[in-house]
């Protein structure tokens, strides 16, 4: 199989006052190309912390993280930015669209930073918006779009640079059940097209849309067939 992400004994801790607070306690995790993985866990379990490391927004305290076979441990800010631009497509719970830009311009944003020419940018952005079925809303500003539509714009934006991994943190967290369901259908379609998706959620129902579910509990990661120890 084609491994595109691998984590070995990842530890993340924060200094809180005098003591170190360990959030991730030695995570081993890998993802193959084309997988759709859910990371399921309760609030405060360290899901977002893990996503930040996967997305190269943060570095682990220790452990080895390889993306596309390349270690990111010793990369500079500039090189990390380059990797985020090429390899990662972020989808956030609260969409994070820029309110001053319309749908099309929002989708073009990551293309600016990967140095695509203006003409190609537009073509590509239109293509992505078509994929999320928003061709008729390209000139709408975020406040002229529904929550579901905003999230679809955000998905189009995440897809724009053809990233290696789509990384979604609670993508349906701000949506009602029906819209959330539609977004999940879109995820499944993207998966069917061959996209690799890692989705973080605390909702078991949502997690079940994925082909593989891993659980994160108290800083430890468990595969579906792992025995989960009792926590008291």
């Amino acid at each position: 199989m084609n491994e595109i992400l691998s984590m070995k004994n990842i530890i993340k801790s924060y200094h809180m006052g005098d003591e170190d607070q360990i959030i991730l306690k030695g995570i081993n995790f890998s993802v193959n190309k084309g997988e759709f993985v859910s990371i399921l866990g309760p609030s405060g379990s360290g899901k977002s912390t893990m996503m930040n490391i996967i997305g190269c927004l943060d570095k682990p305290t220790s452990g080895e993280y390889k993306l596309n076979g390349e270690s990111i441990d010793n990369l500079s800010e500039k090189e990390l930015a380059h990797i985020r631009s090429r390899e990662i497509g972020f989808i956030f719970q609260s969409f994070f669209l820029l309110s001053r830009l319309n749908a099309l311009q929002n989708v073009e944003l990551p293309l600016i930073y990967s140095g695509i020419s203006p003409a190609d940018r537009k073509t590509r952005a239109l293509e992505m918006l078509e994929k999320v079925k928003l061709t008729n809303k390209i000139h709408n500003f975020p406040n002229q779009l529904s929550g579901g539509q905003q999230q679809r714009v955000a998905i189009a934006r995440a897809l724009a640079n053809s990233p290696t991994i789509l990384l979604a943190d609670e993508p349906t967290g701000a949506l009602d059940q029906k819209t959330g369901h539609a977004v999940m259908e879109l995820f499944k379609a993207l998966h069917a097209e061959g996209h690799t998706i890692i989705m973080i959620t605390h909702d078991e129902h949502i997690a079940k849309n994925a082909t593989r579910i891993v659980k994160i509990l108290d800083g430890n990661l468990y595969e579906a067939d792992d025995e989960i120890p009792d926590v008291d």
């Binding site: 927004l57 930015a81 994070f96």
Partner: protein, 400 residues
């Protein structure tokens, strides 16, 4: 990417019109005051120096009241002076108050001046009507005179005076020319012209040889020494001083020399010093404007923390974030600079009109104004922009 940055910055400035304008106001005021000060000073300097140049460039003006024993210079002294190296010509003036008579019209207290043809050569357009005095007039000690319009008015009413005669100190002179009242001719005339005095004072100019020999005026009390090279004025002035010392036996206060070139130079230095001083003061306004921009940029960075975090998550490099904010800052202050430039030129235009001087726009003022404001944008935008580029994307995205 650079174009993108400009577009983004523009958008942000336009989106906050009122705030952007108020922020730019400091720069507008700063640049407007610098530009108007520089332009007005330049206009004034130009007008003063051209006036002085017209009168005095390449000249040494000598006043020689002399001593009780020897009143003024003699023709012999004149010869000595004209032989000093670098002296091209000497234009002497003798003068006294006299009474002019024509028929039964008697005009007391007119000025009778003896001058050489050099004076007329130097001031080509000083004669408006008739002809100037010539070298031959002087050599022949001819009984001819050039009068000013006041004397023309007094003695001839509105008649053409050329070829007509008048008497001064019982000698009859033929009028050959009339002076142009708008041409100053020398420094003294300029001063009295501008003061508006000397208004109805009649004046008649006769060849100085005639004045010395026929009219009996002894002693040349004032003198213009025309020199070949203004750069040599100090050297020539020194030699002239030696000659004058000899002529008056080294007596105190018997003569004085005004070196017009060094006078102009001193004046220029003073004016440019004053300009620098005023610009220095006006720069404080620009500094305050710059601080205003820095403040606004810092606020802007704080407000847009989340945007910065998102841009970073989408692949923006720190330098790209920094550039975006620097450009925004430059854009803002350049906008202020352009408006300030227009305002400053407008002010100096009005001022030049009010002072009745020629309005000139100097390229240096424009370059200075725009350069200054762009510089302010870079200097005061740098810190906020660097702050933005150093934001941690995780913290930035979490802030809500």
């Amino acid at each position: 990417m650079f174009l993108e940055n400009i577009k983004m910055s523009l958008q942000n400035v336009v989106n906050n019109k009122m705030r952007s304008f108020l922020t730019a106001l400091g720069i507008i005021i700063g640049v407007a005051s610098i530009i108007s000060l520089i332009t007005i000073m330049q206009i004034a300097t130009n007008s003063i120096t051209t006036q002085f140049n017209d009168l005095g460039a390449g000249k040494l003006v000598v006043s020689a009241p002399g001593t009780p024993l020897k009143k003024g210079l003699t023709d012999r002294d004149l010869q000595t002076i004209s032989q000093i190296q670098g002296v091209t010509a000497v234009s002497p003036t003798l003068s006294l108050q006299a009474t002019a008579v024509r028929g039964n019209i008697v005009e007391e207290n007119i000025t009778l001046e003896g001058k050489s043809n050099i004076y007329f050569d130097q001031n080509a357009d000083i004669v408006a009507l008739g002809r100037p005095l010539t070298k031959i007039d002087g050599e022949n000690k001819a009984l001819v005179c050039v009068i000013n319009t006041d004397l023309q008015q007094l003695l001839f009413s509105n008649d053409d005076p050329i070829g007509k005669q008048l008497q001064i100190k019982d000698i009859t002179y033929t009028v050959v020319g009339v002076l142009d009242p708008t041409v100053a001719g020398d420094v003294m005339n300029m001063v009295s012209q501008q003061r508006g005095t000397n208004n109805s004072d009649g004046k008649a100019i006769i060849p100085y040889q005639t004045a010395m020999v026929v009219a009996g005026i002894r002693g040349i009390t004032s003198l213009e020494v025309i020199i070949d090279d203004p750069d040599n004025s100090t050297q020539i002035s020194n030699n002239l001083e030696v000659a004058l010392k000899q002529a008056f036996n080294d007596k105190d206060n018997s003569y004085s020399i005004i070196n017009m070139d060094s006078l102009i130079e001193t004046m220029n230095t003073m004016l440019s010093m004053m300009t620098s001083l005023l610009v220095g003061i006006a720069s404080i306004a620009l500094l305050v404007g710059g601080i205003g921009i820095m403040n606004m940029m810092l606020v802007s960075v704080t407000e847009r923390t989340q945007e910065i975090g998102l841009r970073k998550a989408l692949g923006a490099k720190p330098i790209q974030i920094q550039t975006q904010f620097i450009i925004e800052s430059i854009f803002l202050s350049l906008l202020g600079g352009i408006l300030g430039l227009i305002l400053g030129l407008l002010i100096s235009f009005v001022a030049s009109r009010a002072m009745d001087l020629d309005f000139i726009v100097s390229a240096s003022a424009i370059i200075l104004g725009l350069g200054f404001s762009a510089g302010v944008g870079i200097v005061f935008g740098w810190m906020p922009a660097r702050n933005a580029s150093r934001l941690n994307p995780i913290d930035a995205l979490r802030s809500n």
